[in-house]
C-alpha cells in the first residue's frame, strides 16, 4: 500500500509540469523519452533482445554447460540432444557454450568499434563543418580517401598489414567506419552554424570548443546515434566477415563469424553447427535495427 503510494508520487514527481529543481527537470525529461520509447513494441522487442543477448554473453562463464574450448573428438558433430542442446562442432565442442562465449567477442568488438567510431566521426565532422575553410577541406579530403575504398577490402588490407587478431580487426573496422559519420556530422553542422541560436551563443563569449562540444555536438548526436544503430548490423557482419576470412578472432576463440566459417563445410549435413551462430547474428542485427528505428522516432526533433 505504502509502496504503491510512493511509486505513484514518484511518477507524479517525474511527470510534473513544473519541476522545482534542475534534477527533477532532467529526470522528468528522461522519463518522458522512456515512456514514448516504451510505446513502440518493435523497438522494445529490439531493446529486450539486445539486453538478453548481452546478459547471456556476460553470464557465459556461469551458464555455459561446457568449456567452449574443450574438445571431445569422440563426440564430433553430434546432433542436438539434452546434453548438447545445439549439438557439437567438428572438434566435439559444445555449440551452445561456444555461441554464448562468442557473444562476448562479437558483441564486445561491436561495442569497441562503436566507442571508437562515434566520437571520432562526430568530432572530425563538426570541426570541419564549424570552422570551414582549410580545416574543412583537409579533413574532408581525408574522409573522401577512406570512403573511396570498399569497407571490407580496406579492413582486410589493414589487418593483413598488421597481424590478424581481435584488436587489429577492431581497429580496421573502426578505421573504415568513421567517414560516413564525419560526413553526416559535417552536413548537420553546416546547417546549425548559420542559425541565430548558435550566433546567440557565440555572443555570450563562449569559446569555439565550448560551442562545438556543448551546443553543436548534442544537436548532431541524435542522427549519429540513429545512423550508428542502423549501421550496427553491418558492423556485426563485417566483424563476422573478417572472422570468416580468418582475419578476426584466431581460430580457437569462438567468434560468431569464425564459427560459421569453419562450419560451412557441414552446412548441408550437420546444419545446426553453422545455423546457431547464424541465428545469433541475425537476432543481434535485427535487434539493433529495430532499436535504431525506435530511437529515431523518439529523438527526432519535433519542434513544430
Amino acid at each position: 500500500m505504502s509502496a504503491q503510494a510512493a511509486s505513484m508520487s514518484r511518477r507524479d514527481w517525474l511527470l510534473s509540469e513544473n519541476p522545482a529543481s534542475r534534477k527533477q527537470a532532467a529526470w522528468g525529461r528522461r522519463y518522458r523519452l522512456w515512456l514514448e520509447f516504451r510505446g513502440n513494441p518493435l523497438a522494445m522487442w529490439g531493446l529486450c533482445t539486445l539486453v538478453i543477448l548481452i546478459a547471456l554473453s556476460m553470464a557465459a562463464p556461469l551458464i555455459a554447460p561446457f568449456d567452449p574450448a574443450a574438445q571431445n573428438l569422440g563426440n564430433r558433430l553430434a546432433e542436438p540432444s539434452w546434453t548438447h542442446w545445439f549439438g557439437t562442432d567438428e572438434l566435439g565442442r559444445d555449440v551452445l557454450s561456444r555461441v554464448l562465449y562468442g557473444g562476448r567477442i562479437t558483441l564486445g568488438m561491436v561495442v569497441a568499434v562503436v566507442a571508437l567510431v562515434a566520437p571520432v566521426g562526430l568530432v572530425i565532422g563538426i570541426i570541419a563543418g564549424y570552422f570551414g575553410g582549410i580545416a574543412d577541406r583537409a579533413l574532408m579530403r581525408v574522409t573522401d580517401v577512406f570512403l573511396a575504398f570498399p569497407r571490407l577490402i580496406l579492413a582486410l588490407a589493414f589487418v593483413a598489414a598488421i597481424q590478424p587478431g581481435i584488436t587489429s580487426a577492431i581497429a580496421a573496422i573502426a578505421l573504415t567506419a568513421w567517414p560516413p559519420y564525419a560526413r553526416l556530422a559535417r552536413a548537420e553542422t553546416l546547417i546549425f552554424r548559420k542559425t541565430d541560436y548558435i550566433a546567440a551563443i557565440r555572443l555570450t563569449g563562449a569559446s569555439s570548443w565550448r560551442i562545438i562540444l556543448r551546443h553543436v555536438a548534442p544537436l548532431c548526436l541524435p542522427s549519429v546515434v540513429i545512423r550508428l544503430t542502423l549501421d550496427m548490423s553491418s558492423i556485426i557482419l563485417t566483424v563476422a566477415a573478417l572472422g570468416f576470412l580468418g582475419m578476426g578472432a584466431r581460430p580457437p576463440s569462438p567468434e560468431w563469424g569464425a564459427m560459421i566459417a569453419t562450419a560451412r563445410r557441414f552446412i548441408l549435413t550437420q546444419w545446426w553447427v553453422p545455423l546457431v551462430p547464424g541465428v545469433a547474428i541475425f537476432f543481434a542485427s535485427l535487434a539493433f535495427n529495430l532499436l535504431g528505428d525506435g530511437l529515431r522516432d523518439v529523438l527526432d526533433p519535433k519542434q513544430e
Binding site: 542559425t195 541565430d196 541560436y197 546567440a200 555570450t204 563569449g205 526533433p301 519535433k302 519542434q303
Partner: protein, 248 residues
C-alpha cells in the same frame, strides 16, 4: 554626456559587393538609436559588424571609448549583447530556458546562477514555471522574453536589437516594446535598434538613421520625423507609407 557607441566610416564587403558604404553614427550613454531601412539596405549588417558576428569590416567602432577589433574579447561580450529578430530561431531547440539563461553566467564565471535565473525570469515577466520549458513549448512572445532575459544575464551596457518585434503579433509587439523601454529605464542601457518599421523605431528611439543601399542617407530625431521635417526623399517615402495606413 559621453558617447557609448562611436561608429565612423564603417564599411562591410561581401565578396565584391559593398553592403555598407561608410556609415557613421554616435550613440550617447543611455540613449537609443534606431536604424530604419528596407531589406538589403545594410541595416542588419551594421548591427552584425557591431556585435562581432561579422569580422570582415573596415573603419572604426568604439564602445565606451575602446576601439573594437575584428576579434572580440570575452569582456566585450559581457558589455554588448544582442536580441535577434526571430524568437523561433534564436533559442537552441534542444535546450531549456534554464540552460539558455545559465550559459552566459557559466561562460563569464558569474556566481549565484539559481538566484540570477529566477530574478531574470521575473524581470521579463515570465512565470517561474517557464524555467524548464523548451522553446517549442512557449509562444513567440514568451520566446522573445527569454531571448531578452538571456541578453541581460551578464548585465551588459549595450543591447543591440535586430527587428526584435517584427516576427510577433501586434499585441505582443506592444508588450515587448513596453518591456524594452522599462528595462532601459531601470538599467540605463544603451540601445541600437534595427527595424523596417518606422513607427516601431520612432517609438523606442529618439534618434533615427535611415539607410538605403548601404548608406545612411539621413539622420534625424524622432520628433522631427513625427513633425514631418524629413529631408531625404527615401525618408519621406517611408514616412508617407507609414502614415497613409494609420489614417484610415
Amino acid at each position: 554626456m559621453t558617447d557609448m557607441i562611436e561608429v565612423a566610416d564603417l564599411r562591410v564587403h561581401f565578396g565584391p559587393v559593398e553592403a555598407v558604404k561608410g556609415v557613421s553614427f554616435n550613440v550617447a550613454e543611455g540613449a537609443s538609436f534606431g536604424i530604419v531601412g528596407e531589406s538589403g539596405s545594410g541595416k542588419s549588417t551594421v548591427l552584425r559588424a557591431l556585435s562581432g558576428l561579422n569580422p570582415d569590416w573596415t573603419g572604426s567602432m568604439r564602445i565606451a571609448g575602446q576601439a573594437l577589433t575584428p576579434k572580440r574579447s570575452r569582456d566585450f561580450f559581457r558589455r554588448v549583447q544582442m536580441v535577434f529578430q526571430d524568437p523561433y530561431g534564436s533559442l537552441h531547440p534542444r535546450q531549456t530556458v534554464d540552460r539558455a539563461l545559465s550559459e552566459p553566467l557559466v561562460v563569464h564565471g558569474i556566481g549565484d546562477i539559481e538566484g540570477r535565473i529566477l530574478r531574470g525570469l521575473a524581470e521579463v515577466a515570465l512565470p517561474a514555471t517557464a524555467r524548464f520549458r523548451y522553446p517549442h513549448q512557449l509562444s513567440g512572445g514568451q520566446r522573445q522574453r527569454v531571448a531578452i532575459a538571456r541578453a541581460l544575464m551578464a548585465e551588459p551596457e549595450v543591447l543591440l536589437l535586430d527587428e526584435p518585434t517584427s516576427a510577433l503579433d501586434v499585441s505582443v509587439q506592444a508588450e515587448v516594446l513596453n518591456l524594452l523601454s522599462d528595462i532601459q529605464q531601470q538599467r540605463g542601457l544603451t540601445y541600437v535598434m534595427v527595424s523596417h518599421n518606422l513607427a516601431v523605431v520612432s517609438h523606442l528611439c529618439a534618434q533615427i538613421g535611415v539607410m538605403q543601399g548601404g548608406e545612411m542617407v539621413e539622420m534625424l530625431s524622432a520628433d522631427d520625423l513625427r513633425a514631418g521635417r524629413a529631408k531625404h526623399p527615401h525618408t519621406i517615402e517611408l514616412r508617407t507609407l507609414s502614415t497613409e495606413l494609420e489614417e484610415t
